[in-house]
């Protein structure tokens, strides 16, 4: 036994074979190291550069977890023998998702075009602008919700800040890119800020998240602003991160507090489709 593996009793001079816990020095060194990493990451967001690649490494883990679900689905599909038909249905489903999304955009565009007397032909929508991403994981942390998508398309360029959409509208933006995995900051995230315009009153505002299953808030809205309860909010396109005219949420509560210089406007985000496995990344 090497020196330092045991203590010696001062009374009997016998060895005390006690297990030595982590020493205070190593604990303190580790603590300082962790705090340094934490501070560097908070200040410079360095982890965003590597998170995408980390998810690439973890992809087999995520895929493994999908095996039981896929197996069950496969078993239930065994009665269907026509492979060609199944492929066709799958491709129609993908097309359908894209079309539903485009429809939601068209609804808002129609209203705007009518108001501005623009020609209908200006609303040319390119289906190639969307990449289909398969949901790998949705983080259970309610105040830091993160969605991980597997977007495998070697021809397309994935970049940070590209918007991510469900069939209803905007649900977040890409914050980290790997070889084929992307980490998405959801619009409910407390760090998320989306420039929006209201559908009826045509007022601009910034929508801030407050966590998963929590209401969002329109920030710094003057008390004279005439937002209406129930009106829909669409992305305004200001800031050039999110494309304009996509549904983001709905105003559900307006309160004028005497001790607050701004209006308190609560917004209900688009419901996160838990069952939905595919999302769209807007790449143009």
């Amino acid at each position: 036994m090497s020196r330092g593996d045991h203590k010696v009793s001062k009374i009997t001079s016998e060895a005390i074979f006690a297990v030595r816990p982590i020493t205070s020095t190593s604990f303190l060194i580790s603590l300082v190291l962790c705090l340094s990493i934490l501070l560097v990451d908070i200040k410079y967001k360095v982890s965003d550069e590597i998170r995408g690649y980390a998810h690439d490494v973890l992809l087999p883990l995520y895929k493994t977890l999908q095996v039981p679900g896929k197996f069950i689905n496969k078993a239930s599909d065994t009665w269907q023998t026509n492979q060609e038909l199944r492929k066709k249905i799958l491709s129609y489903e993908e097309d359908n998702e894209k079309l539903q999304l485009i429809n939601s955009q068209l609804k808002e565009l129609t209203t705007r075009n009518q108001e501005l007397n623009l020609v209908w032909e200006s609303a040319q929508i390119d289906k190639e602008a969307y990449l289909l991403g398969q949901k790998m994981k949705l983080s259970s942390n309610p105040i830091n919700p993160v969605l991980i998508l597997d977007v495998y398309d070697p021809k397309s360029v994935l970049l940070v800040n590209q918007p991510v959409l469900s069939k209803e509208g905007i649900i977040g933006k890409v914050i980290s890119v790997g070889l084929r995995s992307v980490e998405v900051m959801l619009s409910q995230d407390p760090e998320s800020l989306i420039p929006v315009i209201s559908a009826e009153s045509r007022l601009h505002a910034i929508l801030k998240g407050h966590g998963l299953e929590r209401k969002g808030q329109l920030i710094n809205v003057k008390k004279t602003a005439a937002f209406k309860k129930g009106e829909e909010l669409y992305s305004s396109g200001l800031g050039k991160v999110f494309p304009p005219n996509y549904l983001v949420g709905r105003v559900i509560h307006i309160e004028d507090k005497p001790d607050n210089e701004f209006l308190n406007i609560e917004v209900e985000f688009l419901k996160l489709p838990e069952e939905q496995d595919y999302f769209l990344v807007f790449i143009k």
Binding site: P21, S30, L38, L138, S140, I143, N144, E191, R214
Partner: protein
């Protein structure tokens, strides 16, 4: 295979297995209150085999958890280092405790962990130090209670695994 290496591998395998179980997704509410099996397993190994659990585990698995959970890099290693240190410092006192007393300790640990995760490190809410609201506190309480309840059965499972496979 070298016994030490075999033991380290077996401990790591059990931790990875519980990470996999934690990754299984249910409804949003269930996901927020379901027990954190990985953390419970990590506590068990620190108490059962403190001589085998070093801070290397806390770092490796901490960073892994940071990536999986999307938290700021370094937060989970920090939490695991604290858990490791406290578990190894007080495992002599913890082991003889009754199950109900152990459950109370586990409850407190998990409550603290949940509040640590809620600290507003990115300053997204300038008016408050934490992002926790009433709903978060309630769900955290439920989460801590569930972890405390599942501690005893999980400990038995770990004990069986340790006695069958891990030679010290």
């Amino acid at each position: 295979m070298n016994t030490d290496l075999k033991n380290y591998s077996l401990i790591s395998i059990s931790l990875i297995f519980f990470i996999l179980l934690d990754l299984i997704s249910f409804s949003q509410t269930t996901d927020q209150i379901k027990p954190a099996l990985f953390l419970l397993s990590f506590i068990y190994w620190n108490i059962a085999l403190p001589e085998r659990m070093n801070l290397f585990y806390a770092f490796i698995f901490g960073f892994l958890m940071d990536f999986i959970q999307g938290t700021v890099l370094g937060l989970y290693p920090l939490i695991l280092i604290f858990i490791s240190y406290l578990s190894q410092k007080f495992f002599y006192q913890f082991r003889p405790l009754k199950f109900i007393q152990q459950a109370v300790v586990i409850f407190l640990i998990f409550l603290v962990v949940r509040f640590l995760i809620a600290v507003d490190l990115n300053d997204s809410n300038p008016n408050s130090l934490t992002l926790a609201d009433k709903e978060y506190v309630l769900k955290s309480l439920a989460f801590a209670v569930l972890n405390a309840l599942i501690w005893s059965p999980l400990m038995y499972v770990h004990r069986i695994y340790r006695r069958k496979w891990i030679k010290t």
